[in-house]
Subunit: 535 residues, 2 copies
């Protein structure tokens, strides 16, 4: 649809707040035009893509502010309290759980706080391997700034190019190399967070025991407690050793056992991404076109592998990064173990190709929508012994839901990534064609029904609601399954203390206390807690 | 003092609660005798030792209960709410911050909940390397139970022999091998915690992103939110490789630089404990008597070392534990680096002697009290670049305080232990003779004055209030320096939500909201928040 035909809901104007914001930020950093409102309306979930394509807008931010410093954010939050407007902190806008969306039936003016101007590296402590950043810094800029000091953060989520440190922190993000560098919550030494009840600053120390972990109370708070403005993070010398390669296993259980053996032997790869047979097929189908002479070589290799039991193989990207000598040694040790479990080494060529194209896959989703194909992901984590049962359970539930909803079983594949001593993340990709002639609203309904069944299966099988995609409103109905009532009430108490008038990103993360226990079905949740198009 | 001369304050009796408790637990698990009350009166801080020796009791628990299961604890907490009695969860009673003490001016009956009967290994998942324990299990029992499955938790705090899993969790404990196995908060997959507002159970998953980390909100809560009854923890195969040795560095900065280099090279020892010259002297002075023929060999070695620049050396215990091949490789690599920084290897003999006598040192403290010598510890953590400045600052402040208070500079030494990519824990041992003829009360005052100055120096120098000793009431006055007001208010809100009538371990962890900002001096805190003998 041409830009000029897109109509947004009318803007609500709170003139005293806007005037005050202009006085703080200057006029150029206070934007109410529709281009800005459109750009900040949604994240990047499938639901968001469909709504954007079909111009489905119910609520869109009324104003977008671009603060340039912690102090400006602190002033803006004070003004928001004074004028009773809602604030939505905004990083790169890549969230796929609805974290940056104006939600609910709140009549107040909704203001998006875009931190893109707050992108500075404020301090580096090379000896301690720490760096203080403003929270609005984007992935590539953060790494460029660190590289000038010979350092890296090592956090590369799929959204890396378009997401920010603050967004990673607010949503408990995980990067592809989390085996080596940890999830974002493992990387934080200290935070500055502006809340309506004052600024929280934590001490820049490697560890402490002075009560519950305040950093971990703020990381993952999705903007509902306040605005993360700065963080001191743990960084690492740029890796001297890097080895990315593709390997093949005879089966998913073989690959899983091989990686578990690496873990137990103390040589877990920095990155491991083990695809099931369906995803392996997809990956090979999507790969770059192979030159003729290589194809000529591949045919006998394939025939040979088939004879050896690799008829429906599982591909694994295996990477090691780190200090020259130790990473190389651990890599050698891991290779020895992986081979013992039947891994065929396809070499660094395809490994490096994966590395350099790893951010491409999400684009495919948008392309497929042109063909009425709805593709999305679900992810969870569970312990080693439960990985295969959970995968089976979710796969069956999702297939059944797709068949019932769209008339076809659709596609579902998965990979394991983000490994821990006790388990791993399971990442499902599923796709289904909406029933022919479906309206966008109906397509969203069909998608939501499939995802709801998959999510319910994840929880029933003992997985977590989300390993790194966050809650937003997308996963809100299951928060009462994920957490004990008393735990949710504790978080609500923190919310009420830090944000007594509920102006920080209202509607995200915390289901209203009166919502009954979800039984895993979106339709059982009262309509008013979910935006249009969800049911 | 003979046991029969010890007089405890009279016991307050709440007959309906006691009857109900007997109905739940049976009479043998409900104890009001003075032996039990005495045993649960204090922890094991220096202040506690002095008070025990001098029979200084202000408030002592009125009743001790020994529940045998989660369900019994849940019932007891309900009864406590119903009858408005206070509950103090009790593990091994080794806490040195006052966490298990009946505090404050609360007129309610104080009941200690001793979890010693809840010591079962409930489930092992060998494949996932997880184990579910009841929280009252003691260190040695826990390791014995795991060893039968070829597993270990790897958590060995100095209190290991007499402390429990639940106590470790409640206080964010750290074991000597934390470099390899993490702090206790890193080991938790899930918890069961009984609060007055209901039981919180978290999911047994390796990681998640479903909002703020609930486990980390409960770990370190020191019994003020509820009672930890069970935990699923990450365990490891018993190490195939173990190497403990003692090394000498020319100086503290040399040793620090060497360990930092190991960290950066990816081969940080599983355990490193680098003593400063003063502590090194102490350690060598305390060592087992050397047979004559060895002494004969030592003299020329010492002379040689002195000539080579080791006149005032720093001792370091360096240990590697883990899977056979990788741990051995990392050990070799570390040895290469340590030697580059001038480490002299005294071999595994003294390393293993340290290992086998490592739990002995705290006993010395008790012995020295017979000679009017007050010895205690302070600990903190800070980033690498701040370690030496902080040590200097705290050493000077403590010396000055000791001189002013007792007339002599006393002893202060320290070691670094518990290393992180970004820094380490600093553990100070200090000792001073109370002024001749001091009463026990006056001795406590002198001790408290010295520790207060040392603690203030730690915080002023950018360290954390405590790396693994917890808060209790001992560190309460500094919580307002350690944390932002809004952060403390968030914790208070959680407390009010989970324990609305403040019956869980009242007086610990959270300073009352009306206490003004501490300036680092105990005397500035209103008398009523601290027990007698503190000021």
């Amino acid at each position: 649809m041409p830009r000029e035909q897109i109509r947004l809901p009318p803007r609500r104007i709170h003139a005293p707040f806007e005037d005050a914001a202009v006085a703080v930020l200057g006029g150029a950093a206070v934007r109410g035009d529709d281009d800005e409102r459109l750009r900040h309306a949604y994240g990047r979930s499938l639901r968001d893509l469909i709504r954007l394509r079909a111009c489905l807008f119910e609520r869109v931010p009324d104003l977008i502010l671009y603060p340039s410093s912690h102090d400006q954010v602190a002033t803006l939050v004070e003004l928001a309290v004074e004028h009773d407007v809602c604030l939505i902190p905004f990083g790169g806008g890549t969230n796929i759980a609805g974290c940056v969306e104006a939600k609910g039936r709140d009549d107040r003016v909704v203001v998006t706080l875009d931190l893109a101007q707050m992108n500075r590296l404020l301090a580096v402590d090379r000896e301690s391997c720490t760096a203080r950043f403003e929270a609005g810094v984007f992935g590539p800029d953060l790494e460029t700034a660190l590289a000038q000091h010979g350092l890296t953060l090592g956090h590369q989520p799929d959204s890396f190019q378009f997401s920010t440190l603050g967004g990673w922190l607010a949503t408990r993000s995980a990067g592809t190399l989390s085996n080596a560098y940890g999830k974002i919550e493992d990387m934080v030494l200290s935070l500055r967070v502006v809340t309506p009840s004052g600024t929280i600053e934590t001490r820049t120390v490697p560890a402490c025991a002075s009560g519950p972990d305040i950093n971990r109370l703020l990381v993952g708070s999705e903007g509902v407690f306040g605005v993360i403005t700065e963080a001191v993070v743990r960084v690492h010398p740029l890796p001297q050793f890097e080895d990315y390669r593709l390997m093949l296993f005879r089966s998913f259980p073989d690959g899983l056992a091989a990686l578990r053996a690496c873990q137990e032997a103390g040589c877990l790869p920095s990155l491991a991404r083990l695809s099931d047979p369906r995803e392996t097929e997809l990956v090979f189908a999507c790969r770059h076109v192979t030159p003729g002479w290589k194809r000529w070589l591949q045919a006998p290799l394939k025939a040979y592998l088939r004879r050896r039991g690799y008829a429906a193989p599982c591909a694994a990207v295996i990477a090691f990064e780190g200090p020259a000598r130790t990473a190389a040694t651990l890599h050698r040790e891991a290779m020895r173990i992986l081979r013992r479990f039947g891994a065929v080494d396809l070499g660094t060529g395809p490994g490096n190709r994966w590395r350099h194209s790893r951010y491409d896959l999400p684009y495919l989703r948008d392309y497929l929508l042109d063909y009425n194909l709805m593709c999305d992901s679900m992810e969870t984590a569970t312990v080693w012994s439960n990985l295969l049962p959970l995968v089976e359970c979710v796969r069956e539930a999702t297939r059944a839901a797709a068949t019932e909803t769209t008339g076809q079983a659709g596609y579902i594949g998965c990979h394991l990534s983000h490994f821990y001593p006790t388990g791993a993340c399971v990442y499902f990709l599923f796709g289904a064609a909406a029933r022919p002639g479906s309206s966008p609203e109906s397509a969203i309904e069909q998608y939501a029904a499939i995802k709801a069944r998959g999510t319910a299966a994840i929880l029933a099988a003992g997985g977590t609601l989300t390993h790194h995609h966050s809650v937003g409103f997308e996963h809100l109905p299951w928060m009462t399954v994920e957490h004990s009532p008393a735990a949710l009430n504790a978080l609500r108490a923190v919310k009420a203390e830090l944000d007594p008038t509920n102006l920080m990103n209202p509607g995200s993360l915390l289901p209203p206390a009166e919502v009954p226990l979800a039984n895993g079905c979106l339709a059982k949740v009262p309509v008013e807690v979910l935006p249009t198009g969800t049911l």
